[in-house]
């Protein structure tokens, strides 16, 4: 049951009850009824878990083709997830995952 901290920023928090920070407990492995079940819980699974459990509205603004919408940046412990294996990055206890959208005001 890794407990991870999830944060939404840049407007994405609006999709999650306008709350920026969430503490989340996930199963150790992807549940048996899931796609590719049995693998350790990774960010790909977290994204779907957030969609199914935490998202309040308009899933299409957060998820596209079972990953995040291309305009959303995912950060794992303050590092761009592309440097960490993207969706395949396995979650460890106390990881901090941040989802941000770009701001554009000035």
């Amino acid at each position: 049951m890794p407990s991870v901290k999830v944060e939404f920023s840049g407007g994405l928090e609006l999709l999650f009850s306008n709350q920026r920070k969430h503490d989340i407990s996930l199963p150790e492995r992807v549940p048996a009824d899931g796609h590719e079940s049995g693998r350790p819980v990774d960010i790909a699974y977290l994204i779907l878990w957030l969609r199914d459990n935490l998202l309040q509205e308009r899933a299409e603004l957060f998820v596209e083709n079972d990953s995040v919408r291309p305009g959303i940046l995912v950060l794992v412990n303050d590092t761009d997830w592309e440097l960490e294996g993207e969706g395949e990055c396995v979650l460890k206890e106390r990881d901090e995952i941040v989802f941000i959208s770009t701001l554009h005001g000035g």
Binding site: S9, G10, G11, L12, L14, R20, R58, E60, L61, R69, P70, G71, I72, L73, L75, D78, T79, D80, E82, L83, V98, I100, S101, T102, L103, H104, G105, G106
Partner: protein
Amino acid sequence: MTRNASSAQLSLEDYRRYGRQMILNGFGLPGQLKLQQASVVVVGAGGLGCPALQSLAAAGVGRIGIVDHDTIELSNLQRQILHTESRVGTPKALSAAAAIKQINSRVHVETHATALTSANAIAVLSGYDIILDCTDNLPTRYLLSDTAVRLNRPLISGAAQQFDGQLCTYNLPLSSYASCSSSTGSDEEKDGVRGPCFRCLFPKPPAPEMAGSCEELGVLGAVTGVIGNLQALEAIKLFTGLHDSKPSLLIYSALNTPPFRSIKLRARRATCPACGDDGAKVGQIEETDYVAFCGGARPDWVSRGL
């Protein structure tokens, strides 16, 4: 950046004026001369552009371009701190130029009181070493990124909304900028050593529903002040060779604890339609209608009750 620093001179008056930064470690006379010979263009003389322009002019950047087609409104004065009550109604580019001239008359200021479009972006921006994105809308942000990639210029991008801000230098030279941008390096050599562009990170704009402007969502002036000053600092670090050349994104949230978070960014994306490798690019941007790409005209938030 085009002339040779070692042959340049600093006037006695400038020694006095800039003494407090010239005594800094790693700055010195060479740093001041690099600033004097540098040029920067600030796109947007609003909430971010005003503090950025102020800091750049005070530090002695030699040539400063200001691009803004807007005129000053009373509602701007809450954060656009170069503009004054008496100049309400006049063009922001001219007002900002007048203000920074009062701080430093030795800076050469060029005003472009025109809207930046895909038709004029190359012409307007190509005359400057570094581009600051101080705009307030997504279509112009993509246009600036694509243009910076084509011109091979660093793009120091600031954004601020509500209590939040973001700062990122796109297309960052990954070896020392002060050396790699000298006249000895060809454009091709420089091409291979750049950080990601805006499109690498955000290939798709946020949904228009989530992308209100400052006019719609509001913003605090001190937030634009923080980010605008950080943009100026990025430029000064690049000009003087003090930048660590590591692509990163700074996110700021005035009400968060801790308020700042720095993110280590990926390399540029080989498949990026803007800055990707020839042959590997996916999609193309040549004929992009930037406004349409960002979802067309923004929704009317007031009528939607938000």
